[in-house]
């Protein structure tokens, strides 16, 4: 060692060399991780691939049927092209919003809280290169679910439109290019918020998300409220579609995507390439702006975030929040009187961990608040103008909203529960509680929250819609099954696909396991919604039949009983199967 000249020959690597170094690092990490996954857990990888293919196929079938429906609609209402244009516009607009926030939140954790960043910031790595490296990671994590959702949609569209082969070559660069712009906006927003409000950054972000969501809900309610006078007719549909026109504004990236992809499908490749260039150039410019900003403020923002903790004096608000939290814990302990002491302590530990994570808590409050706002607004619907059947359909739609929102909620918050035990996982093995009970306590914790919120919202909705009691019973049963099933799926798969090395819950939820869980949850939710719709329709068929038509009446009632039984059977299977899979994996785990 002493033979070497000292100090060694070294030079500060420039930006492009550092970028190449970080790219190689990412490639090696991915290669090593994939190789290890194939070597150590082939079954899991196989399962993930098969499930992904099944889900991709399911989505493709769903989109294909949707386009066939629109084609058939064209014969009676010649507006299917217009509807597709609007749907594409809305789809990409909603995704723009989701990507902005998900990349922003992801980067907040990885740029300012992760041990890796602390390590990199102590090396000569340039701020913009660290930013670029974490940005690519954020786009990968937030974007691959988008590709899984977007590719079957666009392939189904291409096949339905009988698009030429260049369309299939172009749609992927469109999707990838589209990711960059919202991701860069999210990243820029994250840097600016953290730099300007290092202490209250989470509050600011929460308020921004809340504002956007409230505006979206108000807009949706307004759309339906304004179009109410027309009833469910072609005129109503046209009026509704007209209200959606702002989503087609030429300056929106969602519009560039819509026009570009539709042009490609109709073989207008000059237009398609123009819009593709527009998407990419704007995305890259936004990224450049974000990277330029990172050079100036990233290290300062990092210092700001890590210099806020440890304030000695708690404000009145802080003390009030602390008192509220303590009261909440005591109430939870009282409500868990039916559990034994170790299980209660375990559930309370999860509850405390959850409520102390302000990011997670804010997301739950926002999600819950929006749902509450939506359901409260149902009373503005002009009930007098809707027949029983239409109100029942609205009720069923509300069950669908609850189911889909709950699938998102359980995938985001329940799925990471087991993974978040992390490095202290061995403590679970030493606890004087059996593994069955540990798993069931996680399930009980998740189910208690989902059942309370789900049934609460569904009851408000059903009461406000003044539906017949058998319909109310079926809808509430469906929501109960959704709550229990989705909780079991997330707890079971969260244990089976556990990721003990990751500490960031967003990363766990948006990772491979989390996405598989989300897709399985969505498929289950859709199945329950469809099965809940059958008895709803049969109920009206039953009422329409006269008492004399005994054969038809018997058949309808038999079908009614069968569909409710099928609903219950799917629910029971959705609770038992994932929990068994999770438990089997949990028993095999070594601590």
């Amino acid at each position: 060692m002493n033979e070497l000249a000292w100090p060694l020959q070294r030079c500060s690597p420039d930006g492009s060399r550092q970028m190449a170094l970080f790219r190689r690092l990412q490639k090696t990490l991915l290669k090593n991780g994939t190789r290890q996954a194939f070597r150590k857990s082939r079954l899991r990888v196989g399962l993930i691939v098969v499930l992904s293919l099944l889900i991709w196929g399911g989505l493709y079938g769903l989109f294909r049927e949707g386009f066939v429906f629109l084609r058939n609609l064209e014969t009676t209402v010649p507006i299917s092209f217009y509807i597709i244009e609007l749907l594409f516009g809305m789809f990409f607009l909603v995704l723009t919003g989701l990507l902005i926030f998900s990349v922003g939140i992801f980067l907040h954790e990885s740029l300012f809280r992760a041990p890796e960043t602390r390590f990199l910031l102590s090396t000569p790595a340039r701020a913009d290169q660290i930013f670029g490296y974490k940005f690519r990671e954020a786009v990968f994590f937030s974007g691959w679910a988008f590709l899984l959702l977007g590719s079957p949609l666009l392939i189904a569209y291409g096949i339905e439109m009988r698009a030429d082969w260049p369309y299939y070559v172009l749609f992927l660069p469109f999707l990838v290019g589209f990711l960059i712009l919202p991701a860069a906006v999210g990243a820029l927003g994250c840097l600016l918020i953290v730099d300007l409000f290092p202490r209250h950054r989470r509050l600011v972000l929460g308020l921004m998300v809340l504002t956007v969501l409230v505006l979206a809900v108000v807009w949706i309610v307004y759309l339906f409220y304004d179009a109410r006078s027309e009833g469910l007719s072609e005129a109503w549909l046209r009026k509704l579609l007209n209200h959606l026109r702002p989503s087609q504004w030429w300056g929106l990236p969602s519009r560039w995507m819509t026009v570009g992809l539709m042009s490609a499908a109709h073989s207008r490749f000059d237009d398609a390439l123009f819009y593709l260039a527009l998407v990419w150039s704007n995305g890259l410019f936004a990224y450049l702006l974000a990277a330029w900003t990172s050079v100036r403020i990233y290290r300062r923002a990092y210092n700001g975030v890590n210099s806020t903790a440890g304030s000695r004096s708690a404000s009145v608000t802080d003390r009030l929040l602390m008192a509220l939290a303590t009261g909440f814990d005591r109430l939870a302990a009282l409500l868990l009187f039916w559990t034994d002491s170790p299980t209660r302590l375990f559930i309370l530990k999860d509850l405390r961990t959850f409520r102390r994570d302000s990011a997670q808590m804010a997301q739950v409050l926002i999600l819950g608040g929006i749902l509450f706002l939506y359901f409260i607004n149902i009373r503005w619907l002009p009930h007098g103008q809707y027949a029983d059947y239409e109100r029942t359909l609205i009720g069923l739609m509300n069950v669908a909203v609850i189911g889909l929102m709950m699938a998102t909620y359980t995938s985001r918050f329940v799925f990471p529960l087991m993974s978040l035990e992390g490095r202290n996982f061995w403590i679970l093995g030493l606890l004087p509680i059996s593994r069955e009970r540990l798993l069931l306590s996680k399930f009980a914790y998740a189910a208690a929250v989902t059942v309370t919120i789900g049934l609460g919202l569904a009851t408000i909705s059903e009461l406000m819609l003044r539906l017949a009691w058998p319909i109310v019973a079926v809808h509430l049963l469906a929501v109960l099954i959704l709550s229990l099933g989705l909780s079991a799926i997330s707890v079971g798969l969260g244990t089976y696909l556990v990721n003990l090395r990751e500490t960031n819950p967003s990363k766990i939820a948006t990772g491979f396991g989390g996405t598989i869980n989300l897709l399985v949850s969505l498929v289950f939710a859709l199945a329950v919604i469809v099965l809940a719709g059958i008895p709803t329709l049969l109920y009206f068929a039953d009422r329409a039949l006269s008492d004399q038509d005994v054969t038809a009446l018997t058949r309808v009632r038999w079908l009614l009983a069968s569909s409710v039984s099928a609903l219950i059977a799917v629910g029971v299977a959705a609770v038992i199967m994932p929990l068994r899979i999770g438990l089997r994996a949990f028993r095999r785990m070594e601590f």
């Binding site: 500060s12 170094l21 000569p124 210092n303 210099s307």
Partner: protein, 251 residues
């Protein structure tokens, strides 16, 4: 080599470091001592440029850490108390990453990697993913990475935690070698025996303020006590406690 000029650091309204002025020369092994929460780790983070001082200036090798951070970090190595390694990289891949990060000549750098693998006895596991390493193995790998580019300033926070006696001896010898070559070592530790054995100068920080600085003899004089470093440390930090706390804590 290391200069801290009237450095203070605030966390919200809490003063973590209070007017710290310190100069450490080339070829010194400076031990930084203090009770828990005294401001040692905050000072180290400011030295590395992870945190900025609320007041004052820090210079490493003549570079202002806040304004010329990239140049300053080029000559620094930092070994934190909880070292970071990429779990999906092998030890060798991690060392290669560090070699490139510091812009080392490939031939010279690879030769140096081989030497360090030999010195730290990493050869039996260096080609495995680091996620399978024990704490001691990780610590040895991190030390190898820190010494790879032969830094002019080595900053270490609790370097002996998790190391077996043989590895501890190895790390001590390497730190001595660094100093003998003209490098500067800034070490924060609670192991006072190691400090007595290694340090050329000792700084004692308490409640963010430097309450003593010098050789062991200087500190003994300041404490008016001719005992071990432990006795001197306890006496100096006790003097700084408010009267009622000292009374409560007195046996």
């Amino acid at each position: 080599m290391i200069e801290l000029l009237d450095v203070s650091k605030l966390y919200g309204d809490k003063l973590a470091v209070d007017g710290l002025t310190l100069t450490i020369s080339r070829g010194e092994l400076f031990a930084f001592l203090g009770p828990n929460g005294a401001g040692k780790t905050t000072t180290i983070k400011m030295l590395c440029g992870l945190l900025f001082p609320s007041r004052g200036t820090i210079r490493i090798g003549g570079y202002d850490v806040q304004k010329q951070g990239d140049l300053a970090r080029q000559i620094i190595s930092y070994v934190p108390d909880q070292p970071f390694l990429y779990e999906k990289l092998t030890g060798r891949e991690f060392l290669e990453f560090i070699r490139e990060m510091y812009g080392m000549d490939p031939v010279q750098g690879r030769k140096r990697i081989d030497e360090l693998i030999d010195v730290f006895e990493l050869d039996s596991f260096v080609d495995d993913l680091t996620e399978s390493y024990s704490h001691g193995m990780k610590q040895r790998t991190v030390f190898a990475a820190a010494l790879l580019h032969q830094p002019e300033v080595l900053i270490v926070d609790e370097p002996m935690v998790g190391l077996d006696p043989k590895s501890q001896r190895l790390v001590k010898n390497l730190m001595r070698q660094e100093v003998a070559r003209g490098g500067t070592v800034f070490m924060s530790t609670h192991l006072l025996g190691d400090v007595e054995e290694l340090a050329t100068r000792i700084g004692i920080v308490h409640r963010g303020r430097l309450i003593g600085c010098g050789t062991l003899d200087t500190l003994r004089k300041q404490a008016a006590h001719d005992g071990s470093l432990e006795d001197v440390f306890l006496r100096l930090t006790a003097e700084e406690e408010p009267a009622e706390l000292t009374a409560k804590g007195a046996p």
